[in-house]
Amino acid sequence: MTSSGADTNFSNEQMLGFYRDMLRIRRVEEQLGKDSLAGNLPGAVHLYIGQEAVGVGICSQLRDDDWIASNHRGHGHFLAKGGDTKLLVAEVYGRKTGICRGHGGSMHVADFSKGIIGANGIVGAGISITTGAAWAAQLDGNGAVGVAFFGDGAANQGVLCEALNVSTLWKLPVIFVCENNGFSEFSPYSTVTSGSIADRAKPYGAAHETIDGNDLIEVWQCAARAIRRARDGKGPTLIEARTYRHSGHVVGEHTFLSGTYRSEEEVEQKKAGDPIPAFAKRILEAGQASQADLDRIDAEITAEVAEAVAFAEESPYPDPADQGAGYMFA
């Protein structure tokens, strides 16, 4: 399916909001990528660059009491769902002021007050957790939904099928969002994944759509349908959003990998599908904003990132005395 001009439904403000939200993720990630390469971050960092339209297209229409769970590539989802830039950056810097007080790091950023169950270091784990949160939402009866973000590689974990089965049976308000970026770590899609991922919903009778994950409007519209279905008690949807990961699987991989798993040409060609310039073009062509507006947003975001970095850098590392039984057991 295509978005076929339906974006005219969005106000100028909304469109700029989407743009801002995508750009925030991009700029934060660029910063963290640089920091990681420079050796300034304690642990590994997996960048979301190139996939922003998925997280923003979906999370922009979620409520604070809707749940999301994410994967190792989770900064984008955190920000898209309203997580704070400073708290994110400080966490990845391993500081006491981070959202998890430095205990979680890049792969575990979470903010339960915003419905962000968190990134996850275990591929596929967010799928079952979200299914459970969706069961809770169903019990609450308040119309909240759960959204699990995961990759094409994660779709090969059997838990996806288990979750599709039980959520269809129980009509759980859950949306499984597979961001198919073409790679399972360093393995190209077709070497490890048979058939189409969206099709995996079919045997269970679950709703499913394959969309252009680089087209924010298409993502938004598909998500709107899935969210409606979920809030109306009609059960799960599996969305396969086709996108591309611009950066490596993990920042710095070229320094230790013995070979390559994708060509420069492929990367360059795929980068042409970058969702952010495409969206800027759409805004400009629709006359919904001027280049100056976009530049202003970029400047604001750049300042926001700089501020977050400064905040993180000024923040102390957590004191070992600060950890312990209080966090382990309630």
Partner: protein
Amino acid sequence: MAKKRMIQAINETLDSEMAKDPKIVLFGEDVEISLFGDTVGLKDKHGAHRVRNMPISETVMSGMAVGAAAAGYKVVCHMMFGNFMYTGFDSIANQASKLRYMTAGQISLPIVYMSVFGGGRSAAAQHSDAMHPMFMNLGGIKVALPATPADAAGLLRASIHDPNPVVFLQAAGRGGESGEVPDGEVIFELGKAATVHDGDDVTMVAIGAMVRPALRAAKRLAEDGIGVDLIDPRTMVPLDTEAILSSVRRTGRLVVVDEARDLCSAASHVAAVCADQCFEALKAPIKRVTVPDLAMPYSPPLEKALLPNEGSISATVRDLLGKPAGVEA
């Protein structure tokens, strides 16, 4: 006080807690009809939305427990046999045990993962492991092992109230045993050991189903003038080390009885704690009565030979004290 079977004590506890707290939900494979009888009738009383049968999908099940708990429910996740927890192990070991810590205490996860465990019924290797040591080593999971119907009621209630993940392991084949259960809402603090037999010659720590043969041994040894101070820790996480240490400081001797395989058993840990913290009081080697490092066999004589029993427990104590039995030895 009333005599009840363990299964009944568990069932009544689940029932009364669910009646009081609408946030408690229970799910698992066939919890509606209930294989063991511990969840029987709960669906009719508390509703199909709160008591739900699961497909055979332990991986998603154990993770759903995490998600539902994170989203505000008190979740009882019935895993049937402890060995099936291996199938759904990721969400227990990587998620439930770590999520609160990784997020610096943003949430708590009130989950009870319950199952039967251990041997004694010819259920063979894949239905008979005693896997509490594995959970003990995870760090973020409490571990409750009731020895009697009263313990089952008191520990299960405490486990449900506890804001943290608890693995509640009921000895397989002990569900039918009867015991006195106090009236009313019996609740036993997690981390408080019980002394089930007094004595001055040797401290014995017995875990879960091992309390019964240990108690029989203690009574029999008492007849021969050997005083066993028998401690049931009731929970292995948290572990009431103080109760154990103060007994050992008095008796100077320790025997630990555990249904786990020996290597890295709970018995090993209790022994290690005492060899460290009350070494000066020790008058004799610390003995473990455990299961050899084998898989549990099917045939009754094989299985029986592996499990600690009154005879092997008594013999260990007598050896330790240098007082061989007339007939038994």
